[in-house]
Structure formats: C-alpha cells, structure tokens
Symmetry: C2
Subunit: 415 residues, 2 copies
C-alpha cells in the first residue's frame, strides 16, 4: 500500500513556515506498513490542487491532505473537494453543535457566521469529527484512491490521525510489514563510522537497507526491512543489530527513534532514583528545556541556573570574582566550579555545566569563537572537556547540548 | 521565474526527520522574486529521482535538490546526475585539496577513500565550492532548466545557498517583484480577527493577497503583492498596513517574519539599556533558550533560574516554605514571588516568571492540568495572569512561553 502526503498553503512555498505535519503523518502511516512514496507542498490555488489530485488518482492508495480548512477566506480545500468530487457543501448538525459549544461554552464568545460555516462539509464525505478544534476532517473515495483532508493546525491534525485515520486504515486494509530499527551513535562522524562498519554493511541481507542520518554531533543508523513474515524480519534485524553492537560497542548510545537521549537519560535516572541539575551559560537553557520536555521530569530534574551574564555566575553560583578574573568565564576552572556549585546548591547526584563562546562575535571572554567547555559531575568524579564547534551560533549551541547529554549518559551507565 | 525544490531521502518519507531545508531555500528564492511552485520529497531510488527530473524538465526554470550527497552508500544523487545528463564522474582537484585539509588539518584524522570520493563530480557540472563541509554542490543545465544539487546538512546547504546560488541567480536572470509584509498579532484567534478586519480584507487591491498563519497564541497576517513596479507595490502595501494598524492597534505586536518576538524584545531592551531575567518552572528553560538564541543577548539578559522542583524554588529563589505550603507551587502568590526574587537577585529592570502544570499528569500541585500562572515585573509594577492552555504538554509549554513574551513586550512598550 502506498500513500502521498500533500500540504496546501502558500506560507510553506514562500518558506514562512516549516511543514512538520507531513513528517508526523508519514511516521504514523509507516508504522502500519503504508509506504509514503512522495510528499508535496503546493499552493492554495484551486487549479493546482485539482491537477495534483488528477496526477495522483489511482497511482497511490491513500492521499492525506493538510491545510486549507480554516475559517478564513484563503482556505479553499473544501470548495476544491466539491469540484473534484462533483459535490456540494451541506451543514453537519453534529459539527455545528460542537463548534457552538466550543466557541460559546469554552471561549465564551458569541458565535459568528464564519464559525458556523466550519460545519459545512461535502455531502458525500465521511466527516472526521475533530474534538480538539473547530475544523472537521473529511474522508472521500474515488475509484482506487482515498482522499483524506485534515486541518493544518498540528494538534488538530495529530488528534485526527491518531484517533480516526490510523484506526480506519488498519481496519480497512491488509498491509505488508515494514520494520525499522534505529541506533543512535554519538561522537563519530558519518564517514569514519561508515569505514568501521563497511564489511558489515556489505553483507546485509538484500531485504534489509541501511541509512545514515547525520546531525550535529551524532549519526543515527537506520535499518529497514520489508517482507511478509513479521517474525522473520524481526529476527533478521536483531541478528544484524547484535553484529553491529559488537563492532562499535562504545558508539551506540540508544535505540529507536522515539527515544531521544533526554528520554533515555530520564528513564535511567528515574529507575535508579538519581537526580540531576544544570548550570548553563552558552547553552542558554536548552539543556533544561530538553530535559523538561519529557513528562515526569520533575521526578529527577531539580532545575538549571541559566547564568548568562558573568554577574549571574557570581551571584547565583557563588563563584568568586577573583577566580573569574584569573581564568576568564570561558575556562576549565569556571565550568568545573559551575557544575560543582549547582550540584551542591540543588543537592543532586549529577550536574552538568556549560560555558563557551557561541559567537558570532566575542562576548565577555577572549577565547576563540566556537570554544565550549563542558563539565559533568557525578557522585564520584568531575569530568571536564574542551571543544571547538566552529560556527554558526546555532550549531555551537546544538552540539554543546548534544555533547553534554552524551557525556552525562555515558557516565550514568558507568556508575 | 519559477522553481521546484526537491528533497531526496527515505528518512523524510518515513517521517524520521522533518525537512527544514526546503523552507530555507524557498525563502531565499522568494526574496529575489523566484516563485516556488512545488516542493517534493522523494525516495533515494534512482528511477524515482529520474522520473521526477523528467516531469519537471522545462516546466520550471530552476530545480534545487538537497540530500543524497554524503559520503555513504545510500547517497546516490551524483550517480543519478550522471545518468540524467549522460555524464561521468571526474576528480576535482580543488575539492580534493579542501577535503584533505579539512580531514587531516582540522579533524586530525587520516584521509580515507570514502573521503576522497567526495571530490568526484560530474564532468559537465559547475562545482559549488563548499567551504564549511566536505560535499560540494553542483550546478548543471539542460534545455530550459537549471538543476542545482546541494548537501542535505543544513549548515552546508545554507552556506551554498547564501554564498553561491542566490548571487548566481541574481546575476543571471531578471525577475519580477514579490513583496511580503507580515504582521504578528498576539492574543486573538483566527476567526475573531477575520471578522474584525473583514471589510478591510474585502477591499484589498487585486494584486495584494492576504493570508492567515495561526499558531498557538498568535496569528500572523501576511500581505503579498506581485508586479513589475517595486515602488508601487511598496506604497500599496504600506497603505494597507496603515489601514490595518488603525483597525486593530492593540493586536499587532510586530512586523516581518524575520523578526521573532524574542528579537523585537531584545532590540527594545538593548536600545533602552534595560535588563531582563527569568524564573521558569513549567516553561523549563524555554524562555531563556529563545532569548539567548539571539546573538548579543548577553547585553540585556542576565539569566534564568529554571526552578523545576519545589526545593529549587526554596533554595534558589528564597521563597519561604510556608508560603508554598499555604498557596501551592502553582499559584498567583508564588509566581509573583518568583518574578520579584529573580529581579532582585539578578538586579534586572524586568523579570518574567512562570509556574504551572503542563501535564499529562498532576505534579507537585493539585491545580487542574493546563493551568499556568505568568508574572512580569517591570520597574513600576507587577503583572500576574492566570491561564488554562488545556493539553497536550507541548502546547501548554509553547503557549506559556508565547504569552509571557507577549505580556513582557506590551509592558516594555508602555514604559
């Protein structure tokens, strides 16, 4: 089974917003064995939408469309559906009563005609009831292709994908198996890694494919297997993973894409009843933000001192002015003090600290732009490392965060 | 002039990574008046790439392709270029010497065959020299279409777009004018806003188009004008903007998409020589992270205390245990104390504080999930507001951050 995902909206084509919806939908389809063969972003002009529909008609089994369903004049998906399916809009009583309740009951505003028009749907459509917003989704069929239209607001799209689309597709179709296994590696670049695992890669079975997914400071290795026998696929992947673990035991830090390192660290800390704190300078709160993006982080994360200014390091972290004068704010000595201080003040088992110059120009220290010091303190020892992540600023911040979490992860495992 | 942007890579089609490159490229093309008519993400199978090239050949002027240029086996763009252009790979001496210097000189590793192969390029290609990475870009032409291939690593892609592609396109072609003006509004929903500006919208000149771009807590209104006379377009847009400002003076908080609110706030603080600090609970460091993502933030941002655990509020912010016991950590009283404390400790003019329950389950407080208190203290007064942002967790955090920055922005403007 194959699918195409279409995003409608000029805001994507002029680069004003990044389309994250297609990725979410593709992942959900992939999990139930439906292969997305193409993603498209097109303008919200009716003729463009119609020609795209015609091109894809009967070439894929499912087309999922997001965008163009809002209450304003630039949203034209519903009208275009009527043209393509030779249909007219009718009022859906259940949707109207839901919209009325949301606007009048929750938002406490009088309902307007624009709001009421959201309850208009093509008469042949199966309505996908949107509990979390005002625009309903639509499911329509023509010859061998299903057309599904969803609102572009991510929370509403996600709700309809999870609660309506995926369950309906699972019920309606038999699908082949597509299994993925992703291994996260930290520290080595793509080509160095590729050399070390070349023999293994060359000997993979033909139904298993390897992909390298590099990002700053880490490379994910993804194995994909396709076939009819789920257990056979699982076994074959497991064998390859075990071979790879023997080859590069120190580089693999985790499995599965749904497990970012902040979640892996969180699980480890929770299991072992350990706590964490941070003192961030150049990472500006991003370590705290990642750690607290995981529900339940309050069980192990006490807090972070984002001591951006030198005076904050002095006032909040009790670091002596003399020490800063002597070594500069971006130094091994200060990053160690920061980590030890926050560990002591917040009484945690582990602590992370970062200080550096993310650029683009030099700040309160004279060190080279891109220089970063990271310290991780554990119940047993203090680790300090120095890096130069070059430029741009965004890359320096991202790599510092990834590196700090990598060091922390490896230390927790050792203890 | 029209363009298509193609992203090559299975990792996008299975939803493992979000494509941010296309958006960056579209924005850069749009700025020089080249209209992106379609974005596509396709698999890294040669036949799929070739059929996509054939479909777009002579239908658009420029095709920009990212991905598939890395050193590993799954990267096949160069080979596919050779097939499509009936060409062969040759060694580029300048690229080889650059790769060698990068690997041996900077990364301090012996150079491998995989690294050396990055210097292979199709003989007919104009090589786009990639100073910030090892994979060169390529520029090839066939009949009426230019094919540009760029590496998928965002920093490398951005470098080549800014330094090579845009200057070359500007030199080579005369282009029409496309002007955009985006107004950011905070606080009102899309349909309420649409009602208030309906008459104005209906009376826009035909060459000006309006789009609504809603995201949690804010709606951007984008005007787009197309034509041959740049000054006439600018004047016409200016007239419409002024009309709109009179209609909704309190809702518009800023202009232009390249100006996120954290930058607008930063500029205001810098101009007026004012300082800011934060005490974050439910936002977990995201306010600090946004503020410090702007270069030069150290001029006005002193730091943030991410006091995630109750004991951190007590230890770091000096809030009395009795007060927390009496009112609970998620309350008007505590958020005010947090803001006043951090303002005092870091000696800043302004301070923001957040406390809330982001869910999905109840934490150290009994308040309803989704409840958030925000406080902004200014040199003159203390503002406290209570919200319920519902669920999911991600939305509660995002809306809290946006709301806090909105309140801060409006207060700075008043003073």
């Amino acid at each position: 089974m194959t699918a195409s995902i279409i995003t409608i909206g000029d805001e994507i084509l002029i680069g004003q917003i990044v389309d994250t919806n297609s990725s979410y939908i593709a992942k959900a389809l992939d999990k139930i064995g439906i292969e997305t063969v193409e993603m498209l972003s097109i303008s919200d002009k009716e003729e463009h939408i119609l020609s795209t529909f015609k091109n894809l008609q009967n070439k894929v089994d499912v087309i999922v469309i997001t965008g163009g369903l809002g209450p304003t004049k630039d949203d034209i998906t519903k009208k275009t559906f009527c043209t393509y399916f030779d249909d007219t809009l009718i009022n859906d009583a259940a949707v109207l009563s839901h919209v009325t309740e949301l606007i009048e009951g929750i938002y406490k505003r009088p309902i307007s005609q624009i709001n009421k028009d959201q309850a208009l749907v093509p008469s042949k459509a199966k309505v996908l009831f949107n509990k979390v917003g005002t625009a309903p989704g639509m499911w329509m069929e023509k010859e061998n292709t299903i057309f599904i239209s969803l609102p572009g607001v991510p929370y509403e799209m996600k709700y309809l994908v999870d609660e309506e689309i995926i369950p309906s597709l699972v019920q309606k179709f038999e699908r082949p198996y597509i299994l993925h296994k992703t291994m996260m590696t930290y520290g080595k670049g793509e080509s160095l890694l590729a050399e070390e695992i070349e023999d293994w890669e060359n000997n993979l079975p033909l139904f298993i494919k390897l992909a390298y997914l590099p990002s700053p400071g880490r490379v994910r290795l993804r194995l994909t297997a396709r076939g009819k026998d789920e257990q056979a696929l699982k076994d074959a992947i497991q064998i390859e993973v075990e071979k790879l673990q023997k080859l590069i035991p120190n580089d693999i830090v985790g499995f599965d894409d749904d497990e970012p390192i902040e979640r892996i660290i969180g699980n480890l800390l929770k299991e072992r009843n350990l706590t964490l704190s941070a003192a961030e300078s150049c990472t500006g709160g991003k370590i705290a933000q990642l750690i607290t993006s995981i529900p339940g982080a309050s069980n192990y994360f006490k807090g972070s001192m984002v001591t951006y200014a030198t005076e904050a390091k002095i006032n909040l972290l009790d670091i002596s002015e003399d020490l800063i004068e002597k070594y500069s704010v971006v130094s091994k000595e200060i990053v160690q003090e920061m980590a030890l201080s926050v560990q002591r003040i917040l009484k945690t088992d582990y602590a992370i600290a970062t200080t550096g110059n993310a650029g683009p120009s030099k700040g309160e220290s004279d060190v080279e732009i891109g220089t970063v010091f990271i310290s991780v303190v554990t119940p047993k020892q203090v680790i300090i490392e120095e890096f130069n992540f070059g430029q741009p600023r965004e890359k320096v911040i991202d790599r510092s965060v990834n590196k700090a979490l990598e060091i922390l992860y490896k230390e927790i495992l050792k203890n």
